[in-house]
Amino acid sequence: MDPAFFFIQFLSGLASASNLFLIACGLTIIFGVTRIVNFAHGSFYMLGAYFAYTLTQQMMALLGDALGFWLALPIAAVAVGLCAVVMELILLRRIYRSHELFQLLATFGVVLIVQDLVQEVWGPEELFGPRAPGFTSFVVIFGFRFPEYQLVLIAAGPLVLGALWLLFNRTRWGTLVRAATQDREMVGALGVNQARLFTGVLFLGGFLAGLAGALQLPVEPANPFMDVNIIAEAFVVTVIGGMGNVLGAFLAALIIAQLQAFGILVFPEITLVLPFLVMALVLVVRPWGLLGKPETSTSHGFAGDRPLRPLSRTQQALVAALIAVLLLLPLVVGEYSQKLALEVFIYALFAFSLNFIMGAGGMVSFGHAAYFGLGGYGAALLVHHLGLNMELAILAAPIAAGLGALLFGWFVVRLSGVYLAMLTLAFAQIVWSTAFQWVELTGGDNGLIGIWPSQWASDRTVYYYLTLLVCGAAIAFLWRASHAPFGYTLRAGRDSTVRADAIGIDLKRHQWLAFALAGTCAGIAGGMFVFSKGNIDPGSLAIPTSVDALVMVLLGGIQTLTGPLVGGAVFHLLEAYILPLTDYWRAFLGAVILVLVIAFPMGLAGFLRDRLTREESAS
């Protein structure tokens, strides 16, 4: 092929590297100082584009094309920076000391709220921005036409890197940021006003993300999917570079963008998967990224963790009563309620399996949907392509999910904390991209339809009992395992890796097995789900589904075994009754997350437990 063509491809790679770096550097700076992985960073980026859209329209009319346009971009970025400041003041301040799970979820709550806000203000359509005055034409490089504006983008990355270097090495504030990245307690102890420093850092991060979004407007229309599309890649770049390291983010952005620029020539189907594959590989070789430093936390327990207790007599009677009610339910309620109830069983199992690795194992998974979806797809593919019946397909679901979890888990358990969460997210994105892009096999975006139960189980009530039996048995098994030595071993590793190691526990191996077991059970839930709906699409293994599972666990309370079950039920019923009533389901869900994280970190079951035990000790 023509070497000139490769050079043009290389230049395109540089332009998208700049864009990636602008987003990722803010993310990594915020993480370095506050230790919060900011999901809302994608929202900042999207807001940057929308603000720029509105501002360029107004200001180009007012001040003329050139001045109006080039003033509008920095103003948009400043406006986004101010939004980030508001988020810091209202939300982040309250959760700096919380568990990383709560921090991740809280910023995801902001993502959901911003999505609905943006749709409300700007509508769901793509909004095309103006072309950049002064850079509207092409330059000819080796006989190829290359857009001038791309050259502006190529320059933006190194310019921002240079500006950040000056800021961090030549100003007092920048020195404080670097110091806080290394040891924020120490910076606090030296009398630095931490609150103001953190607010400033959020402004800087928001500003950079907003700038990236604004600069992108002439190239890509503002649209309401920008946030989620970019955030996963931005995570990948920060993680590969080493979280908290700006130069690392720059290198990683270069690597990822160039791999994509050239990968698309060789193997176009792989573009969505590629960044996540690279990230998984880098983390295996360098668990803390290219230029990152190891985190030194040895405990991953949650505030409010208590010893496990066996069910009391009263509780056993309650469980028996609940089972009786569930068995009798189809006699009193109609088809719709039965369908709702059996979905509750499925989600309860999904949430319970997540909590097995998260609550007991201390491993925060942001990609548990992968195993739910693998189960679902595993079953659906066998029915669709091989014409297998339901019985065999449902057996295949946990096997598919279990094998996936066994493979991914091997990598995942090598990490801990935020890095572990990011890797689970990456693997889930790999599975999602595959389902989305491999159209011949999976039906792509439309998914697979017509996956119905066998004749004998096609009656709603029969399928209700089948789901109750299968999910109930799986939950009972995991419950048992939680109280058994295996569950205790996980809890031991969560409380103290050092102590676990010093009593002969091979923690990684047990975490790996637990990850596979939890994935297998999520696969059972996924298998039952497919046959209850009759279809499956990539949404079942996308990030929002993983977050749904996390919200269920959080809603019920991560510190108790009953929590995820309660949470799964409450969440699904809320979804069923509130979703049809409102256009703002996402904002509602986001608000629920924020309230839970800030006001009820113990969840419903934990809240009740604490109320009850307080009454016991008071009496």
Partner: protein, 260 residues
């Protein structure tokens, strides 16, 4: 006398700093062996190389004649080495007795059992160990809620559970009140002597060291300054100069007299 632990020419450098420089010593069966030295002498580094937390750059560690150099802590534990930490490491969200039960479950290799209730396994054995270290009355409390002195005792109970031949105790009394320190060390000495367990420990408190150690190793900046009985070390002029100082000598004297 048989050697339980033999350390030969152990060395570890962090960047340009040589934290432990060719240190050798031998812990005899049933004896208490103390490593002392000022801050930064390399005590904890030495310790972590014996316990498997740090791989040495050079040198050998042998347990009962078997080479254990560079093995991970969990393997070393399986060979009969119990361990306590400078900052007590326990399972904070379990009850006290469950902490000790975990050690038994691991020792009997039942960590992967999925069906039996863990809280019913080896409970009597665990209670017996708690009884011995004097915290049986706290057995059902959540470990993380105990007073620090009691947590240290729980840690000792965990370390004793699999009847080790060697105990590694990194500053066993750090962070405790004076009275508690003396009691805990006296208890430890009593238990290990009745069971014939060897102990390797580091300690800052000279009263504790000179009251219980059979042999001392003095380190300074990673190098061996002296080895010998408490008497020999106390009289070594080099040790007096670099480490004990006036007050230290007096404390050593006091402790020796109290012991006699």
């Amino acid at each position: 006398m048989t050697a339980v632990l033999e350390v030969d020419d152990l060395r570890k450098a962090f960047g340009g700093v040589v934290a432990v420089d060719r240190v050798s010593f031998t812990v005899e069966a049933g004896k208490l062996f103390a490593i002392i030295g000022p801050n930064g002498a390399g005590k904890s580094t030495c310790f972590n190389m014996v316990g498997g937390q740090l791989p040495p750059d050079a040198g050998r560690v042998r347990l009962g004649g078997e080479d254990i150099t560079g093995l991970p802590p969990r393997r070393i534990w399986r060979l009969g080495v119990g361990r306590t930490f400078q900052v007590a490491a326990t399972f904070t969200a379990m009850t006290v007795v469950e902490n000790v039960q975990m050690a038994f479950i691991s020792h009997r290799r039942r960590l992967r059992a999925l069906i039996p209730a863990a809280r019913r396994l080896y409970r009597d054995e665990a209670m017996a160990v708690l009884e011995r270290v004097g915290v049986a009355d706290q057995a059902e409390r959540q470990c993380g809620l105990l007073a620090y002195g009691d947590i240290k005792r729980v840690e000792l109970a965990i370390a004793l559970a699999h009847e080790p031949r060697l105990l590694l105790m990194d500053e066993p009394t750090a962070g405790m009140a004076a009275r508690e320190r003396i009691d805990l060390m006296a208890l430890t000495a009593e238990i290990v002597r009745e069971r014939g367990i060897s102990v390797l420990f580091t300690e800052h408190d000279m009263d504790v060291v000179f009251a219980h150690a059979d042999t001392l190793l003095v380190l300074d900046r990673g190098r061996t300054v002296a080895t010998g009985t408490p008497q020999e070390v106390r009289e070594n002029p080099e040790v007096q100069r670099i480490y004990l100082g006036g007050a230290g000598v007096a404390a050593a004297q006091r402790a020796m007299e109290a012991r006699a």
